[in-house]
């Protein structure tokens, strides 16, 4: 399968501290890759480097075969991002937010595209509400609608289900699975919920102290460590370091 994301020997140091230490991996078309690790493992720094918001100390990032250091703005028109920790402006209404980002991404017939997503995520009743007044679950659905405005080929999702109740989290995962199947989007997915990784991800990479510790399909990783589930694998890896 075509590799949409190629990360080669990526390293980031801040003074004497190495946040990301010589990591390499790839992500193929239509694949969901779990990028997991304990707090402070280097996940957020890596994602920011992949999006060109932090300059790597060394190494390279190729998206759609293009070097992010040279073609960042061109590449970003086909990439999108959503995080539980990065909200949209609370003092704008939902439709104002969606129209603003649709225009930023240069979406043609953006009102139609917004309507499609509003229907898909069932957020019609929120359309005229201030984003700041939404519940976590409602905000997550709006964030995901924003993340799909430009029909991205590659999506970065940073703990999209954090702070959601189990029902809404389950619905969100189903939305994501449906998007992956229908649109073939590649997703880099960070989460602390290992059940989500087992349910959603084709592959997972464990990172700790900036280094890749292990990687593989969820089933292979569970077998490799001889444990019951991925949650136990996570705990073992986090404590063994």
């Amino acid at each position: 399968m075509l590799s949409l994301l190629e990360v080669k020997n990526l390293t980031k140091t801040f003074g004497t501290f190495t946040a990301v230490d010589n990591i390499s991996f790839s992500l193929s078309e239509g694949e969901i890759l779990g990028f997991i690790g304990p707090n402070g493992a280097g996940k957020t720094t890596t994602i920011q480097m992949l999006l060109g918001l932090i300059k790597p100390t060394s190494g390279s990032v190729f998206i759609f075969g293009k070097d992010m250091a040279k073609y960042r703005n061109e590449v970003l028109s086909e990439v999108n991002f959503s995080s539980a920790y990065v909200s949209l402006p609370g003092n704008l209404k939902v439709w104002e937010n969606l129209y603003t980002f649709a225009r930023l991404y240069g979406v043609k017939k953006y009102k139609e595209r917004v309507s499609e997503l509003v229907e898909f995520f069932e957020i019609g009743s929120l359309f005229n509400k201030m984003y700041g007044s939404l519940s976590s679950g409602q905000a997550t659905r709006v964030n995901l609608a924003k993340a799909l405005l430009n029909k991205p080929k590659l999506l970065f999702l940073d703990e999209p289900t954090a702070s959601l109740d189990p029902d809404i989290a389950d619905r969100t995962r189903k939305f994501l699975k449906q998007i992956q199947i229908e649109q073939g989007i590649a997703i880099l997915y960070t989460t602390h919920n290992m059940m989500e990784v087992e349910e959603l991800c084709n592959r997972a990479i464990f990172i700790n102290e900036g280094k890749i510790i292990t990687q593989g399909t969820p089933n292979k990783l569970i077998k490799k460590y001889g444990l019951q589930d991925l949650n136990e694998v996570f705990i073992k890896i986090a404590r063994d370091i």
Partner: protein
């Protein structure tokens, strides 16, 4: 430069204005308070010196407001993204920094137009002062003041990028710190001799000197306007360089998400 991205940000900022009381106050009330204070001071001075020109202080305060509000248009637009924790969302779109800055420039034009109308109407109604009494000279005055205000906005944004939200007080007060040097209400000759060359290196000082010459001598001071234009270009080059350096510093050090305290 893509117009759809600039339009996106322009609309994004303008959506907020009609429902934001602080922004409405900023455009319609605070300038009115300035006009009232300086208009009344002028009326008081005219009681002992009837030939004291109304436009000397009132014109000065109106133009000063142009600089201040143009600077704030840039600074507040950037702060808006910090307050709303939206910088990350903005900069993972294909937008380029210069498009962002151009959008703030347009926001500034909208603000200045509204404030200009507000100031012009209020000073005419309250003190019978016609802003258009400057005639043709009004155009170069306003353009120079607006550009200088925008340049100060770029510098204030650079401060915010380097030091984060905790520096917002400095960023907002930045223009006011310069006010004594700009010689808004008095001639440069009133400043201590050793400070005068520094004051004259500020574009707005040249324009205020020119404005006084128009009022007091009815002469168009071409020299001041040429100097103001040249200085604005020099200040712009310096400001944009500092801003890009600070932006690169943020990208180098992974500070974009950490600008919020």
């Amino acid at each position: 430069m893509k117009l759809h991205r600039i339009q996106a940000l322009l609309f994004r900022y303008l959506y907020i204005y009609p429902r934001s009381i602080p922004r409405i106050l900023d455009i319609f009330i605070w300038p009115l308070v300035d006009v009232l204070i300086w208009g009344l001071i002028t009326v008081f001075l005219q009681q002992s010196r009837p030939d004291f020109p109304l436009s000397l202080l009132l014109g000065a305060v109106i133009f000063w407001d142009f600089i201040l509000r143009a600077q704030q248009a840039v600074t507040i637009s950037f702060m808006e993204e910090i307050w709303e924790r939206n910088l990350f969302n903005i900069f993972v779109t294909p937008i380029r920094l210069y498009e962002f800055l151009f959008a703030t420039f347009l926001v500034g034009i909208v603000r200045i137009t509204l404030i200009g109308i507000s100031l012009g109407v209020s000073s005419f109604i309250l003190f019978n002062f016609n802003l258009f009494s400057f005639g043709f000279y009004l155009v170069p005055f306003v353009i120079n003041f607006f550009i200088f205000g925008w340049i100060l906005g770029l510098l204030a944004t650079a401060i915010l990028l380097r030091f984060g939200q905790s520096a917002q007080v400095i960023a907002f007060a930045f223009t006011t710190f310069l006010q004594p040097l700009i010689a808004v209400f008095y001639p440069v000759s009133a400043l201590p001799k050793f400070i005068q060359p520094i004051a004259l290196a500020i574009p707005a000082t040249q324009v205020f000197e020119g404005m006084r010459m128009v009022i007091l001598q009815n002469k168009f001071p071409m020299h001041n306007f040429i100097m103001a234009g040249i200085l604005n270009i020099i200040w712009f080059i310096i400001a944009i360089n500092i801003l890009y350096k600070m932006f690169n510093y943020v990208i180098e050090n992974g500070k974009l998400l950490k600008l919020v305290d």
